[in-house]
Every structure is written in structure tokens, then in C-alpha cells.
């Protein structure tokens, strides 16, 4: 059987696999490898009524909420990690601007467990987390139950099965066999829990590179729907071994999203008036992109898979 290439442009991947109304997992690796390029393409293609799922979201959810793409968020934390609150998130939750937003508050552990249950194909996972909290009272996907095997109360965390997971990784082959290293977060369970997977990769490599180090494989290609070659697609978040975090960009976004008029300017400048990631990269300019390049490579010792 010859493996079929799943390589496509970001525009096509989003157009084919992420319709309005989808439940989308993004930001699975927390502050690393956030799929900003995919999020911006969703904004450009005018998606509406998305449900966003993720543990924390370092400004990508805020941008998509501000752009009006989102009607529901299932997350533990939404904001700007190094700068503070997310202003678009606040406008939406406090004043329905630009539209009403339903928030289902999780903790990090319970989001991880919800995806773990989804990945295992079972209806829930048990935990002690959130007992005594108002998250448990308000989130209908967290339910107290009496343990059937011990004398105690636990919380059942209902499984989540996102329609699509969008995962930025270091490298993948054209079939979607993907290598991820560094910050894993909930990427492993998030990928398996989701009905479709879009892999966004810094590099496209030969299949032999992936199979040379199978412990590093995030997901086998047969589970993947699309592969997008998008170097720099995670900017301003970092990619271990490929790019530093652009702290200044998060700070600028903080300042420029405080007022809605400024946010609209920001969105226009960095998303709506750019056709694709290549132009975004040009707009960043070489001084900025050079500063983010890896300065000291640190390759791991090779592992011997011989026999």
C-alpha cells in the first residue's frame, strides 16, 4: 500500500476540516507550540460558533473570541500568561462583546482527564480534583459519585471528544506521523480523543526519520487528516529547538487589546489584512525573526534502536 500524502495548505486544511460549529482542541502543549497560524486562518475564513477546548490559552483563545469566532470555551484558564488578563475574554464574558460566550470552567487536571477519557473511549475518568470547589458545582461535566469499590466520594469527569485537534509539532512526514518533544501537556490524549487531527509542522521529513525514533511519535499518521508545513506557525509561542518565545509580542498584544478599537486595529494588522503566514512572517521582519532563532542547539544523545 503506498502511503498517500496528506500535505496541504493551511487554507485548505481549515476549509476542509474545521467548519463553523466545530469543537476544536488547540493549545494542548500549554505555552509552547500554540497553533496561532491555524487560529488566524479560522478567523480569516470567518468561522462562527466554535467551541474551543484547551487547558490554558496564551492569547490565541482571546484573539479568536475577540474576532467573534467562538460561542463556547471549555478551559481551565484563558488570558495572557506573562502579561495578565485577556481583554477580549473579559469583554465577551462581562458584556457579550462581540457576542455571547459560554464558559465551562475546568481545572487543568480535569481537562486532562476529560481528554484521557475521550482517548480511552470510556465515558468518564474518576478524580478527587475539584471536590469542594465551585467548579464542581457549576460545570455539568463534573459529577460527584460514590465510589463502587471504596467508601469515598469522587468526581466523574465526562469524556470530551473534540471534532478536531490542531497540533503544532517540530516535524512530521507527509502521512502525518509526527514527532513532538519538549512540552507535551495534553497533546497525547488530546490527539487520540479527537475525531480528526490537523498536524502543523516546522519541518516535513522522510518517514524513516520518524520511525528511527518511535518513542518520540505523538501520533501515528493513520489518525491524521491533514498535514500542514508551516514553519513559524506557532509564533509568538516557542517551539523547542526551533524558536524562542516572543515575550514582547505578548506584551504588545496586552496593550493593544485593552480597548476594543485598538484590538480591531491589531486584528486587522496581524490577521485580517494578511493572506497567509508567509506574509505575517515578512511583516514581523528579519530583525525580530532572527532574534527568535535558536542560538545554542542542544541535540539529545542518540538512542540505539538496533538489535
Amino acid at each position: 500500500m503506498s502511503a498517500e500524502s496528506k500535505l496541504m495548505s493551511m487554507r485548505d486544511a481549515i476549509a476542509q476540516h474545521v467548519p463553523s460549529g466545530s469543537m476544536v482542541l488547540m493549545g494542548a502543549q500549554l505555552e509552547q507550540m500554540i497553533p496561532f497560524a491555524a487560529g488566524h486562518e479560522l478567523i480569516r475564513q470567518g468561522r462562527r460558533d466554535l467551541t474551543l477546548v484547551g487547558p490554558i490559552s496564551d492569547i490565541l483563545f482571546d484573539q479568536m473570541i475577540g474576532a467573534g469566532c467562538v460561542s463556547r470555551v471549555l478551559a481551565a484558564w484563558v488570558g495572557n500568561v506573562s502579561a495578565g488578563v485577556g481583554y477580549c475574554y473579559r469583554r465577551a464574558t462581562e458584556g457579550n462583546i462581540p457576542r455571547r460566550l459560554e464558559v465551562v470552567d475546568y481545572s487543568n487536571f480535569t481537562i486532562a482527564l476529560a481528554l484521557h477519557a475521550g482517548a480511552m473511549g470510556v465515558p468518564f475518568m474518576p478524580t478527587y480534583a475539584t471536590l469542594g470547589s465551585d467548579l464542581l458545582k457549576k460545570n455539568g461535566n463534573l459529577r460527584e459519585f460514590a465510589s463502587p469499590v471504596s467508601e469515598e466520594t469522587l468526581v466523574a469527569v465526562r469524556a470530551l471528544r473534540p471534532d478536531v485537534a490542531i497540533l503544532h509539532v517540530q516535524r512530521a512526514d507527509a502521512q502525518g506521523n509526527a514527532h513532538l518533544w519538549g512540552s507535551l501537556g495534553v497533546a497525547v490524549d488530546g490527539a487520540r480523543a479527537s475525531r480528526k487531527i490537523i498536524i502543523v509542522a516546522e519541518e516535513i521529513v522522510e518517514p524513516g526519520i520518524i520511525s528511527s525514533d518511535p518513542n518520540r511519535t505523538l501520533v501515528p499518521g493513520f489518525l491524521v487528516s491533514a498535514v500542514v508545513h508551516e514553519p513559524g506557525g506557532a509564533h509568538p509561542s516557542p517551539v523547542q529547538g526551533y524558536a524562542a518565545r516572543d515575550h514582547g509580542f505578548f506584551e504588545e498584544y496586552h496593550e493593544r487589546s485593552r480597548r476594543i478599537e485598538d484590538f480591531e486595529d491589531w486584528l486587522s494588522q496581524w490577521v485580517l489584512h494578511l493572506p497567509d503566514r508567509r506574509e505575517y512572517w515578512k511583516q514581523l521582519g528579519p530583525a525580530r525573526t532572527d532574534a527568535l532563532a535558536v542560538k545554542h542547539h542542544a541535540f539529545s544523545a542518540p538512542a540505539d534502536f538496533g538489535y
Binding site: L30, W77, S107, V186, P238
Partner: protein, 262 residues
């Protein structure tokens, strides 16, 4: 009454944040497993490792486990220097499972609001009588529920230290007494220490906070006036020990421009 120690006159000047970091670092005992968090607790973990707790192990919610802390200033726990030379980069589920097993000795948290029983709110705040949406739990609810000891750092004012939080994002001792057990939380768990800009609070057996120490130059009256309930005061109230030279050296090496310790 003003507490001002002799050492205060001769010691190197320091900021309130640096005092808080030093106090937080002293909450970490050698060999303990620590759920670190960011900002001031991150620095506290580094200070502890480099001074009195050289064998403390740091866990991060993104799945990272470090026996040797990064020597770079971190803006987030996912910054590449925090992954470089880590002991393990696993899944979030793995570090959270260690927490649930009771294998995390101490977890550090910040909060917008804390109440007299150590319950934390980072979900809905108030400003000028308007509800203000805050970022949410992150891992705070998990850590507050499951770490053996929880240490909270926050600025001390009446708007933050309130009688009852409007929303329990992260459970402390609830309404006191047997509340945690009756809600199914593990027996050896709960808030241990609250380090503010004015002093240090600890908790009695009934789950209610009391003032344990005041920072140099701060009066008890000032602490009470800035607390939203009638705060109990320890019989043997002491003054918070200022940061030592060794502690300040570590903080300033890692944060020379006072990004976190303004």
C-alpha cells in the same frame, strides 16, 4: 506598635517582593517535591534549591520535572530554558497524578482573593461593584485540593483578603472544621501559609487563618486594617526574617532587572 529589627538597619535594601520570595523559599524543605508555578514561586524554588533545599524537585503543570532549576529568567513554565536539561518532559496527566497520589509536598499559588479559611478565587472578581472575569483556575484548584501543603502569595489589601470569597475556585478549609474531609479531600492536604506584602498568615486546627509574622516595618494594626475580617493574631507574633545576602544574591542573579521582584 512598629516592628523594626536591628538587622533592618544594616541589611541590604530589598523589595517587598524579594521578602515574599525569601519567605516562600523557606516553606520548601530539603528533598521535597514542589509544584512550582510561575512568577515569585518560581524564584522561591530557585532560591530554596540554591540555599537550604538543594535536593528539592520541581514539577510543572505542562509535565516538566526538574531537579536542576533553569538559570534563565522565565516568563512562562513553557519557556525553552525550562525544558533544556529538564529531568523529564512528560504529560500533564503524569505530574497531576503524582499530585493526586499525595506525592507533592508543597504547591504554590497566587490568587485575586483569599478568605479567612484560605479559599481562593481566581474566577470572578469585583471592581467598583462590577463583576470582573478573571482567567480561571489553571491548575490552582487541583493543587489546592491535592497538595499536602499549599502556600499562597498575594498583595495584602481589604479587596483581596476578604471574609468569604465570592467563588471558590480553589478550596481551602471551606467553612472550617472538618469541611475538607466531609467534601472528600485527602486528609493530609490544605492551605499551610499565606505570604502577603505585609506579613505571613498560617492556619489553626479549626482551619481559620491567623497572623503569624509581620514584615519588618509593618505594624499589626496596619495588617488588621488591610484585612477584610477580624484576623486573629498569634500569641507569639514574630517579625518575618528579612532576606539573607545569599537569598538576595540568587534572586538578583536570576532577575537582575526586577521583572518579577519589583
Amino acid at each position: 506598635m512598629t516592628h523594626r529589627s536591628e538587622t533592618d538597619i544594616t541589611a541590604r535594601p530589598y523589595t517587598f517582593s524579594e521578602l515574599m520570595v525569601a519567605a516562600a523559599a523557606r516553606e520548601i524543605r530539603d528533598g521535597e517535591v514542589v509544584f512550582v508555578g510561575m512568577r515569585l514561586p518560581m524564584l522561591a524554588f530557585l532560591v530554596a534549591r540554591r540555599t537550604h533545599s538543594p535536593r528539592a524537585v520541581g514539577l510543572f503543570e505542562n509535565g516538566i520535572i526538574r531537579e536542576t532549576p533553569s538559570t534563565q529568567l522565565l516568563y512562562t513554565m513553557g519557556d525553552p530554558p525550562n525544558i533544556f536539561e529538564a529531568t523529564q518532559c512528560g504529560q500533564m496527566l503524569e505530574v497531576m497524578s503524582l499530585l493526586q497520589q499525595g506525592r507533592v509536598n508543597v504547591g504554590f499559588l497566587g490568587a485575586a482573593e483569599i478568605d479567612r479559611f484560605g479559599n481562593l478565587n481566581t474566577t470572578w472578581g469585583h471592581r467598583n461593584n462590577e463583576m470582573q472575569r478573571l482567567p480561571g483556575s489553571g491548575g490552582a484548584c487541583d493543587i489546592a485540593g491535592l497538595a499536602r501543603r499549599t502556600v499562597v502569595l498575594l498583595a495584602h489589601d481589604r479587596g483581596r483578603l476578604v471574609d468569604r470569597v465570592g467563588h471558590i475556585t480553589s478550596p481551602g478549609f471551606g467553612t472550617g472544621g472538618n469541611w475538607r474531609r466531609s467534601h472528600g479531600l485527602p486528609p493530609a492536604s490544605g492551605p499551610s501559609t499565606v505570604i502577603t506584602t505585609l506579613g505571613v498568615l498560617r492556619f489553626g486546627h479549626d482551619g481559620e487563618a491567623f497572623l503569624s509574622s509581620v514584615h519588618p516595618g509593618v505594624s499589626v494594626e496596619e495588617v488588621l486594617a488591610n484585612t477584610g475580617w477580624t484576623l486573629r493574631v498569634a500569641d507569639e507574633l514574630i517579625e518575618t526574617k528579612p532576606p539573607t545576602d545569599a537569598e538576595l544574591d540568587v534572586m538578583r542573579e536570576l532577575d537582575p532587572h526586577h521583572f518579577w521582584t519589583r
